[in-house]
């Protein structure tokens, strides 16, 4: 029983990472109506920028905020410059562009900062939280930040005009244009926000998995999985999905004998696919109702 509890908590801890990433994934999906495969690499690149700023002597929280700002601007620029020529093209062409971005960010990061592992400080310190060893201060801090972002996003999308405009632009760009919404800029804003959230995710994740150019590849996948399980239309569901994926992965690794460490990822993904087969729009997603 204690092993079970321990594994669940460990799963929640790693799940916090996936939840953070899942939130970024859903954010971009809400804004642009597709998944951005380059998101993990963009987050990784942002984290390296933060690392560099800290190396240059800038204090942690200043670097944190600065990185968020830089990432936001970079996200907007990527949409306006890199993606604009593909406006109106087949979605698969967009996917290829994301793959290209993924490759560029990954390779450039390795080139500038090389491929060795670096450590990245946690603002929450290490040691024990409230005198217990159940969950570390960084894990708790990560969950707290993720929840704060979640609340912020919820309020932004549901209760502000610009949030509504962004949702409208993603849901039905033509009708949004006819309502006078500048759809191009709404998309760019979405990209900027996604990049900013991604950078926060990266900076929270790096202390745990260590900073190196390939750190985000599997995390992005888990993030996708969490977002999909939770339901791509529901940021809250995505966060829950991220936690669920963490727990599932850990329990599967512990209790299913065939599964060695190599198969953890596969098993987790298989379970997720199974969930999708039962509930195709995710556990908390709203199925899109369309009239035939």
């Amino acid at each position: 029983m204690e092993l079970f509890l321990h594994q669940v908590l460990a799963g929640l801890a790693t799940g916090g990472i996936y939840a953070c990433m899942a939130l970024a994934v859903v954010m971009i999906y809400q804004a642009i109506d597709h998944l951005n495969f380059a998101q993990g690499e963009m987050a990784m690149f942002s984290t390296f920028i933060a690392w560099q700023l800290i190396q240059w002597g800038i204090p942690y929280w200043a670097a944190f905020v600065l990185t968020i700002g830089i990432s936001f601007i970079a996200g907007v620029l990527i949409d306006r410059i890199v993606l604009k020529p593909l406006h109106g093209q087949h979605i698969l062409s967009h996917v290829v562009a994301f793959i290209a971005l993924l490759s560029i960010f990954n390779s450039t990061a390795g080139f500038i900062w090389d491929w060795t592992i670096k450590s990245f400080a946690s603002p929450f310190g290490s040691g024990q939280l409230f005198g217990q060893s159940l969950i570390g201060p960084h894990d708790a801090g990560m969950m707290a930040v993720t929840l704060v972002m979640l609340v912020f996003l919820y309020l932004f999308f549901r209760h502000t005009r610009i949030g509504l405009a962004m949702r409208a632009a993603a849901a039905n760009p033509e009708s949004a244009q006819l309502a006078g919404i500048r759809v191009g800029w709404m998309n760019a804003l979405g990209w900027g926000m996604a990049a900013a959230i991604g950078s926060v995710a990266g900076m929270l994740i790096a202390p745990v998995v260590f900073l190196e150019p390939n750190m985000m590849l599997s995390i992005l996948l888990y993030g996708f999985a969490g977002a999909v399980v939770g339901g791509l239309t529901s940021p809250g569901g995505a966060v829950l999905g991220g936690f669920a994926v963490g727990v599932i992965e850990n329990l599967a690794g512990t209790y299913i004998p065939v599964v060695g460490r190599e198969m953890k990822l596969s098993i987790a993904l298989c379970i997720i696919v199974a969930v999708l087969c039962v509930k195709p729009s995710g556990l908390f997603g709203r199925p899109v109702v369309t009239r035939v």
Binding site: L86, L92, S93, V96, T108, G110, V273, C277, P280
Partner: protein
């Protein structure tokens, strides 16, 4: 106040006195001539590379049938390629069966796998299907490394295969013979694919892609067609995998990661979605462009690749086939 618009004779499109259909035949003939000349005109290594490009083209053709013609988004075709490759390797090295039989065997095995995967995939659309297929792409290499099947698959080290020689004592070396075999198989598969796409079944597939509800309302058994297409698509990519295993004479789990799945997908889009001739361009792209990127800058190979990919997609958003269509239309318009 009343006017009628004038009617005109429908125009006949032709360039240099020959219609589009006639041009297509000429180009096909030229292609076949070039294909026959290659094994005698180029060095072994280049023959080997062309063989690989054609193999990738066949793999991409499989993906095209599923994603391009039937609209099911797959990022996991490396799995079927791997299954085909390992089927060939296991048959040749562990069971001592001649390489020729591995092709139909890989086809059958992959068809079954593809069809079985296609069944639960029926419930998934778009991005969800992409994720599920991506999961497959990740799972298969891991499964191949697993200790449970290590006895058959050789685990992480994989299996080394002995490259076959030309039969009947033909005066061809290994590379030339494999090239000939690949070209013959490719021709058969391309002809079959073209016939499929232009037949009633092909139209049903395209209908399902474009408007599944309407297709269903017209009496098309959408579920059956979608699963069968998954099977056929896997079959094509699996045969390519088997040929690849024979040509490279080696299989290992890490050769068939999601990187391959992504590469096939990129090849599909670059060649042109739903274009059968485009897959050849895709195959060439998959084989040569990563090497070109590396030769430009070893340290930034990935970045160079990404930039090339972006430029290609800007210039040809509908792939090479789209570009060809645009140019043809422009040429036809001059008259």
């Amino acid at each position: 106040m009343l006017q009628r618009p004038e009617t005109r004779e429908p125009p006949v499109y032709a360039v240099a006195g020959m219609t589009l259909a006639q041009w297509k035949v000429i180009l096909l003939g030229l292609g076949l001539v070039v294909a026959c000349v290659i094994p005698f005109a180029l060095k072994n290594f280049y023959i080997f590379q062309i063989t690989l490009a054609i193999i990738y083209a066949i793999a991409i053709l499989g993906l095209n049938l599923l994603t391009g013609f039937n609209g099911q988004f797959s990022l996991g075709h490396s799995a079927f390629y791997a299954i085909g490759a390992y089927t060939a390797a296991i048959m040749m090295e562990n069971l001592g069966i001649s390489y020729i039989w591995t092709l139909p065997a890989a086809a059958a095995v992959c068809f079954v796998f593809g069809f079985l995967f296609g069944l639960p995939a029926l419930r998934l659309e778009g991005i969800y299907l992409a994720l599920a297929t991506f999961a497959l792409a990740i799972a298969i290499p891991q499964a191949l490394k697993s200790s449970v099947v290590e006895h058959w698959t050789g685990g992480v080290q994989g299996i080394v295969i002995i490259k076959p020689d030309a039969p009947f004592d033909l005066p061809l070396n290994s590379d030339q013979w494999l090239y000939v075999l690949t070209v013959v198989v490719a021709i058969v598969m391309y002809v079959c694919a073209t016939n499929l796409v232009q037949s009633r079944t092909g139209r049903a597939l395209i209908a399902i892609r474009d408007h599944p509800v309407a297709a269903s309302a017209m009496g098309i058994n959408v579920s059956l067609y979608k699963s069968l297409t998954f099977g056929v698509s896997a079959l094509y990519t699996g045969v390519a995998g088997a040929l690849g295993a024979i040509a490279i004479a080696f299989v290992a789990p890490d050769s068939f990661t999601f990187v391959l799945a992504v590469a096939l997908f990129v090849g599909l889009v670059v060649g042109g979605i739903a274009s059968i001739p485009g897959t050849l361009v895709g195959g060439l792209f998959v084989l040569f462009v990563p090497n070109i990127a590396e030769s430009v800058s070893k340290g930034l190979a990935g970045a160079v690749y990404g930039v090339i990919l972006l430029l290609v997609i800007y210039l040809m958003p509908s792939g090479a086939a789209g570009l060809a269509r645009l140019l043809t239309a422009k040429l036809m318009q001059r008259r």
